[in-house]
């Protein structure tokens, strides 16, 4: 599968704080990928490294097979980026800001711009200094979509949108992914939006990569196991890949990742136990992994 972003041993420090720690990551083309992590996990730094806005201390980052730090103009024209706090010339009107943005790009989808402005009720005549934060974020998204990027990177795009606008925005992402196979990477801490729209998920915490891969696979791998044994359960987990474990006499609860039936059968026999496996939703899985 063709990768659009490749990171190898990527590390980044700010003064004496390690923000990214030895991250290996491959993001496949054409997917919608959610980047999930608590505040301060390194999501924004990771995106800025990918885009060549920050240089790595060690390791490498490639975008469209080019070194992120040395992207050529062709590569840059294929990227759409919406930062967490979009910056505009506040004195411009919406219409003027769009004309200004347009002057930087070789291709421009006028119809898409009009349709998005219309859908999100952005009035071209309005001055940017007079519109709300949510409207500014939508305008930034219009800017980022207008030149038909192959890769769209969005930093917390829905944070200041209301639920209805969030749903419309997600629908727009899906249409975009369907129509042009645009690869979309977006960071969020709102798990429910990600669960709906993402095919793949990257989870980071404290600068470390915790998971990268298909969301379906993650949901199928991680199980909560309830154990009732006929003898005392051990204090430490008998499972090989344990995310969390707690034992109390003959009872135990474990959250495990990728435990095969064979392993479950072995533990069942070893402790003469009854095991019950249960699916977890992404929020529960995230809590377990991010701990």
């Amino acid at each position: 599968m063709e990768s659009i972003i490749e990171l190898k041993g990527a590390s980044k420090r700010f003064a004496d704080k390690t923000v990214l720690h030895n991250i290996d990551l491959n993001l496949p083309k054409g997917r919608v990928i959610g980047l999930l992590g608590p505040n301060g996990a390194g999501k924004t730094t990771l995106m800025q490294v990918m885009l060549g806005m920050l240089n790595l201390d060690s390791g490498e980052s490639k975008l469209f097979s080019q070194n992120s730090w040395q992207l050529d103009a062709m590569a840059k024209a294929k990227i759409g980026y919406v930062p967490q706090q979009p910056a505009f010339f506040e004195w411009m009107s919406i219409e003027q800001s769009i004309q200004y943005q347009k002057s930087f790009y070789p291709s421009w989808d006028h119809n898409r711009v009009e349709a998005l402005l219309d859908m999100w009720q952005l009035n071209g005549k309005e001055k940017i200094k007079n519109i709300s934060l949510g409207q500014k974020q939508r305008l930034a998204i219009v800017h980022a979509l207008a030149h038909q990027p192959e890769l769209l990177i969005l930093d917390e795009p829905v944070a200041s949108l209301d639920p209805l606008a969030r749903r419309e925005f997600i629908q727009e992402l899906i249409k975009l992914n369907l129509a042009q196979e645009t690869t979309i990477l977006f960071s969020t801490h709102i798990v429910s939006d990600l669960e709906r729209v993402a095919s793949d998920v990257v989870i980071i915490n404290q600068g470390q990569l915790k998971y990268s891969g298909a969301l379906d696979v993650l949901k199928e791998q991680v199980k909560k196991i309830t154990i009732k044994a006929s003898e005392q359960m051990p204090e430490t987990s008998p499972f090989s890949s344990t995310l969390s474990y707690k034992a109390q006499g003959v009872f135990a609860n474990a959250v495990v990742q990728g435990a095969a039936d064979l392993e479950l059968d072995k533990i069942k026999a070893q402790f003469n136990a009854e095991l019950h496996a249960q699916d977890l939703d992404l929020e529960q899985i995230y809590m377990e992994i991010a701990q």
Partner: protein
Amino acid sequence: MTIDSILMQLNLDPHSGTPIYRQLVEQLTHLITAKQLKTGDKLPSVRKIAEQFSINPMTISKAFGQLESQGLVIRERGKGMTVAAREQQNERDYLATRLALIQPNIEQLAMQAKQLDLTQEDILTALAKQMSKTV
């Protein structure tokens, strides 16, 4: 069954622990095995389901791929996915498909029976009684 009524019958919950593609496979399998969807009926397109439920299109393609490999639907050029003819599913697979649909309920029943200290006989008797009623 029309495409709109299929869409109305689907109930996809992105926040469930069951992956969306599996929910879709289960629900469509249900409609097909229960004969609500008949041979030759057209399924809604990937795009239509993706937009209607605001879910990732790849998830839906994956579900269609599974249904296709199970022989429940066929991909027809220019027509999209249609429900396969009954003969194309052999009898044994058909039984297995239907049993798989009810398996989660059986597991839950077995677990609750154990917790309540009910024997296999107790459960089978109760189940037989219930089933004779429902017929």
